[in-house]
Symmetry: C2
Subunit: 336 residues, 2 copies
DNA sequence: TTGTATGCGTTATCAT
DNA sequence: ATGATAACGCATACAA
């Protein structure tokens, strides 16, 4: 591997000059620069980013910390879409991405911050972390610039990107009420996700507006998995046989609910309307097509990277970015 | 950020001793070690991997080079599953993953090898690269240890993981012939993928065994997209109206074919049997469920990481690893 | 416009 | 068992 030292020797200049020439400084003679660039090419030189990082104290890498990057979750293309967005923006910049993952299974012997500190990432994007994660605060209060996905917390060095989950759920409420439903239930995700809390609030509030009360026995909790959605939906119908519409806080749970209900002989949407949240890939393919709130997941990742890199490169303030959502009406919902 | 220097000062020893103590060398007094470890904790020390990399000439990172990590491809969970496998194995080791991506759109100003050289990755896993990619040879002949996914080429520092595409396609041939089909067509992917070539060969050869000839006008090429699969299938039926079974070289194309055929009034599998390849997530959800060859995609990634890291850590020879495949019979195929 | 010298945080060599 | 010192490859303050 050729170094600037080799170039210097070959070109008969000092390493300082080589460094400056290659980095486009103005105070270097055009002729010497030309010669240097030439010999650099000749020696097939490529800069050693590691050495550069060491002296610059900037690694030009951002960490992408994702939980739920596990086999079982591949169904949910949420993660991959966010990653794609992050990657697309980052690849327009000088930053590379290093992947950190946390299977909840492997007890992490190292905390996030430790991982980040050791690898010297300049900043980090965090996705899929639970609100009860012991390290969440450590991250938000920490020194490492970070952007959270779907966790609305701002710190000294922490911003976030999210969608307006309250508004999205509100729209579902309006929509179902508009279809004439009055006996409505909700399958929510676990309480350790901000989105669960928001979606519940928004849904509840919009129904109240329509004089529909979402009492506690009309709310059943799953944990965002397909299977749990089915279970929760059945529970819901057992407690409230009159229910004609169910809002599920995630598409995966909605799909689980549909499967479970169909197997019990319910027709969708004739007997029960189902609405999901996320607009994952599958929701378009299941039978019937799932009515849901579409989020710009890709945009979530893209904006996260943009926000973080802005914080890094231009000392931008940590802030929030809200990306859009939209109700996608398909065939799983109908007038009562 | 505390460094070993700080620890040395505070503990009243030399940096050499600190380094050795922290790295578990045996030639350091237990008491001094204890003191050093203590003050390290006290100062909230974490090693600077960058400095370490510089002197060790090992970055303990592997590059994950994926093409097709783009928005449109999210459907195809192949990429994400491979990545998950890679990640799962790597996370058991000391290696971190840095993500390189090549949208064919962005003209890469830097070649793969350049990216790898600059970031000083110790090795690289390459996925989704086309056989006509100008840099493929550069990689295989290059000095950087690498493992290719689904490209059966071995070099001095290059191994690969793949499935037996020939055998998989062969089984499809046997299967369709066994169902009584004699008028059979194939929708292949583009020629710049090894898998296309292999799948074609395997399919053709197995049919020959059954005295069924797959003439050229019974082969129509798509480019692995859903839409192209639909187009190719229609073309096929136009040229050979008697066709009763179509083997598509990817599930996505098979799904496109099903959609297109259904829209033309063909019933599947009553009129036409469709078989895919890949067993992507969707294939289980479309109507009818798609018969296909399932590959252990996760295993592909897992084994790739394993092979690469073996090459890195134990100077393992570059070699190949073949992961299993299996015919998944669903409802898109039936007796003629 | 160019060169000298120093340091980034670590590991490794060679003394002691 | 421990410490001085020299690397690793690069950027930069300062001098010339």
């Amino acid at each position: 591997m050729a170094t600037i030292k080799d170039i210097a020797k070959k070109a008969g200049v000092s390493i300082t000059t080589v460094s400056r020439a290659l980095n486009g400084y103005s105070d270097v003679n055009e002729d010497t620069r030309k010669k240097i660039v030439e010999t650099a090419k000749l020696l097939n030189y490529s800069p050693n980013t590691i050495a550069r990082s060491l002296v610059m104290k900037k690694s030009k890498t951002i960490g992408l910390l994702v939980s739920g990057f596990i086999r079982e979750n591949a169904k949910d293309n949420f993660t991959i879409e966010v990653m794609t967005g992050v990657n697309d923006y980052a690849s327009q910049t000088a930053y590379d991405i290093v992947l950190f993952t946390t299977n909840s299974s492997k007890q992490r012997e190292k905390t996030y911050t430790q991982l980040c500190k050791e690898r010297k990432v300049d900043g980090v994007i965090i996705q899929g972390i639970r609100t009860d994660d012991p390290y969440l605060d450590e991250v938000i209060e920490g020194e490492i610039p970070c952007v959270l996905v779907d966790i609305p917390k701002i710190g000294k060095h922490a911003g976030y990107v999210s969608t307006d989950n309250y508004a999205g759920a509100w729209e579902v409420g309006e929509y179902l009420a508009g279809l004439g439903h009055t006996s409505i239930g909700m399958v929510n995700g676990h309480e350790f996700a901000f989105v669960s809390q928001e979606r519940l609030k928004g849904f509840k509030d919009s129904l109240i507006q329509k004089d529909i009360k979402l009492s506690d026995d009309r709310i059943s909790n799953g944990d965002f998995t397909e299977e749990s959605g089915g279970r929760a939906a059945l529970q819901l119908l057992e407690d409230n046989p009159s229910t004609t519409a169910i809002f599920c806080a995630s598409d995966l749970m909605a799909i689980g609910a549909m499967t479970a209900l169909k197997s019990r002989g319910y027709r969708i949407p004739e007997d029960i309307s189902i609405v999901g949240y996320d607009n994952i890939l599958l929701s378009r393919y299941v039978q019937p097509g799932l009515t849901t709130i579409s989020q710009d997941t890709y945009g979530l990742g893209y904006e996260a990277a943009k926000l973080l890199i802005d914080m890094l490169d231009h000392e931008g303030e940590p802030r929030k970015t809200i990306v859009l959502h939209e109700l996608m009406e398909r065939d799983s919902s109908a007038k009562v």
